[in-house]
């Protein structure tokens, strides 16, 4: 791989179905990442760290040795803000602060300098974490995820913090899912499984692409079934891509990005997320850091080979970026 400001990694989340079905253990996931030529990995702690949220110090040390064995950089520790974990109330601020401090410390013990968090941390709490992240020398990035864009109020506040504190210790982790324009192939597979007829899709999909409202479009399907109704609703609700002009401000405050994808075809093309336009913009705005391939098709169709998908995604990225 050519020397580049942009490095390509893999989120182990991509291998969820193999991990969930106990076909791959954590070490096998790491070995797969190495075989695919990834330079580093993201781990979803709540998924792959035994003892989470309180892994032992010994486990954290062993994990670093595993990374060395497979010559993988520790790119990102993926943390959540499980604000709704209680059934009686949302977590309060002291709880979210402790939840996040705990993640920062575990990440640090595991060798990570990037921690991905979520907007539920709130701008006020994120601001309180700045000194602690600075002391631990960790960069705490908030993931920008569907259905948000950088223009919603909470994200205007986050950008205010980046302006105030710089982005050496806090910042944004854009998830390319925000640029998704249409449903993806595994979505169609699951829709069919749940009873959506092809003839219904043949009517609705072109209307969705033309920006027709759900209400107007459904008038064209007088025989819509009960099984089809919620799926049709998703079709019109879920795909409102952010503007590619937003990439500039993202890059300015980002050290890490999620190369979210659902399906790459055999021609190394993503038909739903415009990687061919996203990646050149990311590069040209001067992004320096890792993009982790984050395959999520497994949530819709578990029969697709995730490793093959990752291979295609990495190939596509390299071709677009001229890194091949």
């Amino acid at each position: 791989m050519k020397d580049s400001n942009i490095k390509l990694g893999i989120s182990l989340y991509s291998l969820t179905i193999d991990y969930f079905l106990r076909r791959y253990d954590l070490e096998r996931c790491l070995a797969t990442a190495q075989e695919l030529g990834a330079e580093g990995i993201e781990i979803v702690a709540a998924m792959m760290v035994p003892g989470y949220p309180w892994p032992t110090a010994a486990w954290c040390e062993d994990f670093q040795k595993l990374l060395q064995k497979y010559r993988l950089a520790p790119v990102s520790y993926s943390a959540y803000v499980d604000m709704g974990l209680r059934s009686d109330r949302d977590l309060n601020e002291p709880e979210i602060v402790q939840f996040t401090k705990n993640d920062l410390e575990i990440a640090s013990r595991m060798g990570f300098q990037v921690v991905r968090t979520q907007h539920a941390i709130s701008p006020a709490t994120l601001e309180k974490m700045v000194p602690y992240a600075a002391k631990l020398d960790v960069w705490l990035g908030v993931e920008l995820h569907v259905p948000h864009t950088i223009h919603v109020p909470v994200w205007r506040e986050y950008f205010g913090l980046f302006d105030k504190y710089g982005s050496d210790h806090i910042g944004i982790v854009p998830d390319f899912g925000v640029f998704q324009e249409y449903p993806h192939l595994p979505w169609f597979h699951q829709a069919a499984e749940l009873g959506m007829r092809q003839k219904t899709l043949d009517v609705l999909c072109p209307l969705q692409r033309r920006g027709v409202t759900e209400e107007e479009a459904l008038k064209q399907v007088p025989d819509l079934t009960d099984a089809e109704r919620p799926i049709a609703h998703e079709l019109f609700k879920d795909f409102h891509p952010a503007a590619l002009e937003d990439i500039g401000p993202m890059v300015k405050h980002s050290r890490y990005m999620h190369g979210k994808f659902y399906h790459i075809d055999e021609n190394f093309h993503d038909a739903c997320i415009p990687y061919d336009r996203i990646l050149p913009l990311v590069r040209d705005h001067g992004f320096k850091g890792f993009i982790a391939s984050e395959y999520e098709g497994h949530q819709f169709d578990e029969s697709i080979d995730a490793t093959e998908q990752l291979k295609r995604h990495l190939t596509m990225e390299k071709r677009i970026l001229g890194l091949a």
Binding site: Y13, T16, I17, Y19, F20, L21, R22, V44, A46, M47, P50, G51, Y52, P53, Y80, V81, D82, M83, G84, L85, R86, S87, D88, D90, Q118, A120, P147, H148, W187, Q190, A191, L194, I231, E234, H298, Q299, F300, D301, E302
Partner: protein, 139 residues
């Protein structure tokens, strides 16, 4: 359609058997996975119904066993410091005098959980699904 993929793997192949204490058959048990891509605090479980051979098991006869502990179903919503690691199977223990007869039984688990980080614009997604399968009672 989010978070649907894993429900079809809820009931595991192993661990379905009668239970005994000193020779007295007290009931039966089976093992389930958490039907999501990551682990969960038990307090996020909003529904867990077991139906065996078409008959719903009374929650009063059910114990949920994980992390070396045993819980009444009524306690589940309160277990916010009990984490279900995704690779650990939980055991459902059913009190039923004499247990179940040998041979296959139809097991159905209806499960729902709150996705605790999805409070976008104030609402949490609740993922729901069911898994039905025939399982032979192990000897």
């Amino acid at each position: 359609m989010h978070f649907q993929a894993y429900f079809k793997h809820t009931v595991t192949d192993t661990g379905f058997r009668n239970t005994a204490v000193n020779g007295l058959v007290t009931g039966y048990q089976l093992e389930i996975r958490f039907p999501g891509y990551r682990g969960s605090h038990l307090s996020c479980i909003t529904r867990l119904d077991l139906t065996v051979d078409g008959k719903k098991v009374d929650p009063q006869d059910l114990l949920f066993c994980l992390n070396g502990k045993e819980f009444l179903m009524a306690q589940i919503p309160e277990l916010f410091v009990e984490y279900w690691f995704i690779l650990d199977n939980a055991t459902l223990k059913v009190a039923k005098e004499g247990g179940l007869a040998a041979g296959p039984h139809e097991i159905r688990v209806d499960f729902a959980y709150r996705v605790p980080y999805t409070g976008y614009y104030g609402n949490y997604i609740v993922a729901e699904g069911a898994h039905v399968r025939a399982l032979p009672l192990a000897r």
